[in-house]
Amino acid sequence: MNAGDSGLPRWVLLPAGLGVSLIVLPLAAMATRLEWPRFVELVTSESSLAALRLSLLTSLLATLACLALGVPLALVLARGRFRGQRLLRALVLLPLVLPPVVGGVALLYTFGRRGLLGPVLEAAGWQVAFSTGAVVIAQTFVALPFLVVSLEGTLRTVGQRYEVVAATLGARPTVVLGRVTLPLVAPGLASAAILSFARALGEFGATLTFAGSLQGVTRTLPLEIYLQRVDDPQAAIALSLVLVAVAVAVIVATAGISERSAWG
C-alpha cells in the first residue's frame, strides 16, 4: 500500500512514521543496551526463573478466572436487555481506565486483613494479603474487562440468527449456548483469552500494592524487573525483552485468529 492509491495526503505519512518510531525506538534502544552473550544466563538465574514460573502460573489462573466470570458477564451484556445495562458495562470497564495502583488499594480494602471481607476470609483460614492468591485476584481484576469487552463485541457481530433458529427447533437455552453460541464465537473467545492473559502477565501496580513482593510467592516478572533495575540493570533489560517477546507473540496470535475467522 502506498499513500497515493489510499487517497491519503502524503504528509500523513510523517506523523504516522513518528508514531511508529515512538513505540519501536524505545524497545530497540533497550535491546541495544543488553550484553546479549549474557542473555541466557540472565534469564535463567534463580530469581528470574522463579519470577517467570510464578508469572506464568498466576497469569494462567487469572485467565481461567476471567473466562469463568467474564464469559457469563459478556453474554449478559450482549444478549440481555435490562435497566442499568449501560451502567453495568461502564462499571465493568473501570479497571481498564483506573491506574492499577488504585485497583491495588481498593483490593486491599476489600480482601485485606482489615478489609470488607477480611474477617470472613480470616475466619475461613485464608489470609489473602501476601499470598499467591492475592496476585491472581489483582491480575483478574485488571484483565477481566479485556475479556468482557472483546467477547461482547464478538457476540454482537455474530448476531442471534442461529440462536433463534435453534430455539425454534426446540433447543433449550443451555443447549443453544453450548452448541450454537459458544462455537460461533470460539475464535473471538480465544483471542479475548489471550489478551487477558497478556494483561495479567504485565500486571504491576495492583500486585505491588496488594500482594507484596516475595520471591516464588508474589514477585512476578514485572516486580522482579522493577527490583533488578536497581541492582542489576542487565537482568532487568533481559527480562523486559522476554516480556516484549511474549507481547509480540500475543499480537501475532490474536491477529492470526481474527484473520482466520474473518476469512472463514
Binding site: L96, F146, F204, L208, S213, L227, D232, A247, I251, A255
Partner: protein, 261 residues
C-alpha cells in the same frame, strides 16, 4: 484497507492501551521553587531527605535573595543513574556510601564527599501493636507477618546486616522495593511489623508506632553529600553544603530523627 489489516490495527491499538496500563512513571523532578529566580540551585537528594532538605531549601532561599532551590528526590541509585545519563545538578546527597562511591568512580563528583548524618533501622508496628512486638527477637515469632525491604535496596541490606549481627533469622512475608511500601503495609494493618529507618518512622507520625532496638547499631547508615563536577552554580552549591553541614542543618536533622555521622 483489507479486513485482516484492520483487525491487526485493532489488535495493535488494544496493545498500546495495554502497555500504557503497565507503564511506570519515571521519577519526576520535584521543584521547591514557584517563581522564576535569578539563579537556580539544583539539588539531587535521597528520598529520605525530602522533609529536612525542603526546610533547609527554604532557609537557603531566605538567606540568598533571588536564588531558588530546586530538588530532585529519588532513590540514591536512581539519582546517580540520572546524573550518569547527563542530568544537570549542583549537589548530590545519597542515603548510602555505596551510591556515592559509584558517583565518585564515574567522575561525577568534585572533591571529597562529606558525611553529614546517619540513620538506623527501627521496628514499626500498627497502632496498638496487635502482635505485641517488644524487641528485635520478637520479629522471628512464627506466624508474625513481617515486611522488610528487599536485600538489593539499602534498607533491606541494613535489615539483613542487623539480623546477621543479632543471630536472628527473619522470614518476612514480603520484601518491598521501597521504605514507603513497607510503611504502607504496616499502616494498613496487613503486616504485624516492619523494619524502616528511624526518620521514616518519625515522618509517618502516629499512623505507626516505632520501637527502637539496640541491635540496629550494627547497620548504621551514613549519608554523604558532595558538590558535582558539572555544577552550573558551584558557588551556591558550596554555600548550600555549608548550611547542610553547619549548626542550622544539624538542628533540622535532629528534629527529623537523624543521628550524627
Amino acid at each position: 484497507m483489507s479486513v485482516p489489516a484492520r483487525t491487526l490495527a485493532a489488535a495493535t491499538a488494544a496493545f498500546t492501551l495495554l502497555l500504557a496500563g503497565c507503564a511506570q512513571p519515571a521519577a519526576p523532578a520535584g521543584s521547591a521553587s514557584a517563581e522564576p529566580a535569578a539563579a537556580t540551585l539544583t539539588v539531587f537528594a535521597a528520598a529520605s531527605l525530602k522533609g529536612s532538605f525542603g526546610e533547609l531549601g527554604e532557609l537557603f532561599e531566605a538567606a540568598h535573595p533571588g536564588t531558588a532551590v530546586s530538588f530532585n528526590f529519588a532513590g540514591s541509585q536512581t539519582l546517580v543513574e540520572q546524573l550518569g545519563q547527563g542530568a544537570a545538578a549542583d549537589v548530590l546527597a545519597t542515603a548510602d556510601e555505596k551510591s556515592m562511591a559509584t558517583a565518585v568512580a564515574d567522575g561525577l563528583v568534585e572533591g571529597d564527599p562529606t558525611l553529614f548524618v546517619s540513620n538506623r533501622l527501627t521496628i514499626v508496628v500498627p497502632p496498638g501493636n496487635p502482635a505485641s512486638v517488644a524487641g528485635f527477637a520478637d520479629l522471628a515469632t512464627p506466624g508474625l507477618r513481617l515486611v522488610v525491604c528487599a536485600p538489593v535496596v539499602p534498607c533491606g541490606a541494613a535489615a539483613g546486616k542487623v539480623a546477621t549481627a543479632a543471630g536472628t533469622t527473619l522470614t518476612p512475608v514480603s520484601e518491598e522495593q521501597a521504605v514507603t511500601d513497607v510503611l504502607a503495609k504496616v499502616q494498613a494493618g496487613e503486616a504485624d511489623a516492619g523494619l524502616v529507618y528511624a526518620t521514616d518512622a518519625l515522618a509517618a507520625g502516629d499512623t505507626v508506632t516505632a520501637i527502637a532496638f539496640p541491635e540496629a547499631a550494627a547497620a548504621t547508615n551514613r549519608y554523604p553529600i558532595a558538590l558535582l563536577a558539572a555544577a552550573p552554580q558551584p558557588t551556591l552549591a558550596a554555600a548550600f553544603l555549608e548550611l547542610v553541614t553547619g549548626d542550622e542543618g544539624r538542628a533540622v536533622f535532629d528534629r527529623a530523627g537523624f543521628g550524627r555521622p
